[in-house]
């Protein structure tokens, strides 16, 4: 049973399409809420519900991962060796640290320390950026090796295919173009040692999951960046910091999803 603190509420004789009309209402309180407390509770419940949808969005892909892993366990063991555990571990640490900074920023604004809050938000964006840079290197390395999702996957010539969707177009170049140019530090597409013809399937799942996760990191960076600017301008205070709290929740979920992705993809 919900508790309503104010049964008799402010009069609104003009239909009230202004905001914050009537004395004694803080500027952030929307006219259709009875109290700040109600507004805060509503925002937070809304955010939690949104995060549930995020979990379910990734849930679908985790289920696909689980099903294909149980169908082709050897594929997952073989293909996951292509992932760089060190880079993954660095990224895990970076994201965990960013979760700490964002939580700390909420604490700071609760205590009214706007400046600290601002710098912690900036630090969070910076850490998220670092995560993306590492991801960039991981992706480009795989592209160099011809590791693409699904039917784009490049194999060394001579790999035997039984699946009708794969054929000669999936063989890497016979001539090493880079070597001809005298470039020593390069990779040849198809030179990854994978022979399992379903490897493309594994990397489809890998790219989809980490890609959509990366998209969430990007969106989080933008949101936190906006929060940082607004904090700098003094929009938030110890009385009202709901957006920071909510974006913080979102960021933790992005973090938690990675915590599951890392071992499932890189470690086992």
């Amino acid at each position: 049973m919900a508790v309503h603190p104010a049964p008799i509420t402010f009069d609104d004789p003009h239909g009230g399409h202004g905001h914050g009309d009537g004395a004694g209402h803080p500027p952030h309180l929307k006219h259709y809420f009875v109290s700040s407390e109600q507004q805060f509770d509503a925002s937070k419940l809304g955010m939690w519900l949104f995060l549930v949808t995020e979990i379910l969005l990734f849930g679908g892909m985790f289920v696909a991962y689980g099903i294909y892993r149980s169908m082709y366990p050897e594929l997952f063991t073989e293909a996951s060796t292509q992932l760089d555990t060190v880079m993954g571990a660095v990224n895990t640490a970076v994201l965990l640290l960013s979760s700490l900074t964002v939580a700390w920023s909420i604490r700071a604004i609760q205590l009214g320390n706007k400046k600290l809050c601002f710098w912690l938000l900036v630090a969070t964006v910076a850490l998220a950026g670092m995560f993306m840079v590492v991801k960039y290197f991981e992706y480009t390395h795989k592209f160099d090796l011809g590791i693409f999702p699904g039917e784009e996957m490049v194999y060394a010539e001579g790999t035997t295919f039984t699946l009708p969707g794969l054929g000669e177009e999936n063989f890497g170049p016979a001539v090493d173009e880079h070597a001809a140019e005298g470039d020593d530090h390069h990779y040849v597409p198809g030179d990854h040692g994978l022979t399992n013809q379903r490897a493309g399937l594994f990397f489809s799942i890998y790219y989809m999951m980490t890609g959509i996760h990366g998209l969430h990191v990007l969106i989080g960076m933008i949101a936190i960046g906006i929060l940082a600017v607004k904090t700098w301008r003094g929009k938030y205070s110890a009385e009202w910091y709901t957006p920071i709290e909510n974006v913080g929740l979102y960021w933790h979920v992005v973090d938690v999803i990675w915590i599951f992705l890392f071992p499932l993809m890189y470690l086992i």
Partner: protein, 607 residues
């Protein structure tokens, strides 16, 4: 059920004025805010459009949704008529096979994703939910408007997909067919993805509003059953829609870069797609039907002037259906290559879900017992709903039975079954709900006479169209057939002719609506004698912000005796019984006559 209490503030003893203080309809949400009276002619158009396009008022957003989904209902309905016309004869060459395939896909995709899913919740729910809760708006009004625009964006993508050649996969998008067909699958999957976002946002908004914005005294036990239904629906929307979202993204990536997760040619599993698809699309069936349950509960209570029988059972069965609805998706796949064990488990749970649905039907019928049943057009649609939904539910038991489903799966029997539930259920309930809430939305009464005639024509046409399809299906006529064997000819002809009656009935409803906007009698605040807040505490149409004072709720949603107990309604903060309760309300002889009961408002001024 609660007992009646008097208002906390002293009631005014003077005779009720025609317009209670503070309730002169100057703030009518349809007109205000907008250009002032000094602006005349076409100069009014742009400011009015701008005011509507940027509104965050849940009532206006509801009306905009209503208009939008009606357009898609009309388009998809026309597609259905074309499909039926093609099936008039087996060798009809009215459409080619490919055009026919695009046409039924258009019908399915539009009806499901652009009409039924948002129909009742986003239009009537958006309009009525905050008022029924005694709130000024939903919890996130801007998000509400955003969800409308997201929906429009999704709908535009769907229209683009159709204009760029259409799509011929059927609304189920089964792989590998949808991987390989050279029609516009990509924009259509994106349309479904985007429209899904709108659905999620509406769901979140409703859940938060119901949890946090109820008026004082409006406990969970006093929530109108429509609210309970919307609550259950919102849970399903929030939990199921993300899965169709990711499924559509995976399908789109399949088409774009060939990721192969659902493509057997690359080692993927097409049956996995069906699991993903139905994990959303079966709960989506409850997104479609649960709001209808809520509507029928309101209509049966109000028009029987009787407490809804088994209030708690109906409320909780809505939530039970929502939860169990997540565990039955596999009953779409009894012959699709899932393991027999899963089929058996899904069948058990499917039957479990039949029980709460059955309880509801019996409770609605029992509600009329010893009541005072007013056979308005809305009530006729409601009774038609009960009849049709019972058939839909019982045939659901047939297709849920493992062995029988082997024979009936993917035949016209299934087509008839889900049309009895979706069309005979949701659409009939929605039309009933429109007759019911129309006076509140637009301040005008629809024609009762034509409403009753349309109920008869629609009911007749519907049964003629779809009952024949049960027989066709059990005789073995598969669905999605462009042409058919001669033995099915007669029944197909009956069905096609029936579809014309059905279309005629729906056109009558449409004309009734348009007619009422211009010629309908002005509606009093509470024309039906209902006892929920939107009728007892607001004018028709409601003020810009619904209530001048937050109402205090002192009785249950179906305690009609409170309406007749003289001192009225419990307080609304100032003790003003806004729209004055009147025992005369809702007498049959008032219909069609313009009796000013002191409740009606002057005709809204359009100058």
């Amino acid at each position: 059920m609660s007992t009646v209490t008097t208002a906390p503030a002293p009631a005014k003893t003077s005779a009720a004025p025609a317009h209670p203080p503070g309730h002169e309809p100057v703030h009518n949400y349809l007109l205000e805010p907008g250009p002032g009276p000094d602006v005349k002619g076409f100069a009014r158009v742009w400011p009015t459009v701008k005011a509507w396009a940027t509104t965050v008022d849940h009532k206006r957003i509801g009306v905009m949704y209503l208009f939008t989904v009606s357009v898609f209902f009309a388009i998809a309905g026309c597609a259905a008529l074309l499909v039926r016309a093609e099936l008039m004869n087996p060798d009809m060459d009215f459409l080619t096979a490919d055009e026919y395939n695009r046409m039924f896909t258009l019908h399915g995709v539009m009806m499901v994703f652009l009409f039924i899913v948002p129909s009742i919740p986003a239009s009537l729910g958006n309009f009525a939910l905050p008022i029924m809760l005694g709130a000024k708006d939903v919890a996130f009004p801007k998000l509400n408007l955003m969800s409308y625009y997201i929906f429009l964006a999704g709908a535009s993508l769907a229209v683009y997909a159709i204009l760029s050649g259409g799509i011929d996969t059927g609304w189920t998008f089964y792989t590998p067919y949808s991987d390989t067909t050279n029609t516009a699958v990509l924009p259509m999957t994106m349309a479904v993805f985007v429209a899904g976002f709108a659905s999620i946002l509406t769901g979140i908004n409703f859940i938060v509003t119901i949890h946090k914005m109820r008026a004082p005294g409006l406990t969970w036990n006093r929530l109108p059953l429509f609210i309970w239904a919307l609550y259950a629906v919102s849970i399903v929307q929030v939990l199921a829609t993300p899965v169709i979202g990711i499924t559509m993204v995976l399908l789109a990536m399949e088409r774009l870069v060939g990721i192969g997760i659902f493509d057997p040619a690359l080692g993927g599993d097409p049956v996995l797609f069906q699991h993903f698809f139905w994990f959303y699309s079966h709960p989506a069936v409850y997104i479609m039907i649960l709001p209808a349950f809520g509507v029928i509960s309101e209509l049966m209570g109000t028009f029987s002037r009787q407490r809804v029988f088994g209030y708690r059972a109906i409320a909780l069965s809505s939530v039970a259906i929502a939860m169990l609805g997540f565990l039955v998706w596999g009953h779409h796949m009894f012959v699709s290559g899932q393991s027999p064990l899963s089929s058996i488990v899904f069948s058990v749970i499917t039957f479990l879900i039949g029980v709460p649905s059955g309880i509801k039907i019996l409770n609605w019928v029992a509600t009329m017992y010893k009541g005072s049943v007013w056979l308005t057009a809305a009530m006729l649609y409601s009774l038609a709903f009960i009849f049709l939904f019972t058939i839909g539910g019982l045939t659901g038991i047939m297709v849920g039975a493992l062995a029988v489903d082997i024979h009936l799966h993917d035949t016209y029997f299934v087509v008839a079954h889900f049309h009895y539930v979706m069309m005979g259920g949701t659409v009939f309930a929605m039309i009933g709900a429109l007759f019911y809430w129309w006076p509140k939305m637009f301040g005008r009464m629809m024609s009762e006479t034509w409403g009753r005639i349309s109920a008869g024509v629609t009911f007749f046409g519907f049964n003629m169209t779809f009952f024949t399809q049960f027989i066709l299906g059990s005789q073995g006529m598969p669905r999605r057939y462009f042409t058919y064997l001669p033995e099915y000819h007669d029944l197909h002809q009956v069905s096609t002719v029936g579809s014309w009656f059905l279309g005629l009935g729906l056109l009558m409803v449409l004309f009734n609506m348009i007619w009422s906007l211009f010629k309908g009698k002005p509606a009093p605040g509470n024309p039906w004698g209902a006892a929920t807040l939107e009728w007892t505490h607001t004018t028709s149409p409601p003020d810009h912000h619904n209530f001048h004072r937050t109402p205090l709720v002192t009785h249950g949603p179906y305690d009609y005796d409170v309406l007749f107990s003289g001192d009225g309604y419990g307080g609304d903060g100032a003790g003003t019984p806004a729209p004055v309760p009147n025992p005369e309300v809702g007498g049959p002889q008032e219909m069609g006559k313009s009796v000013d009961l002191g409740l009606s408002q002057p005709k809204p001024k359009h100058d």
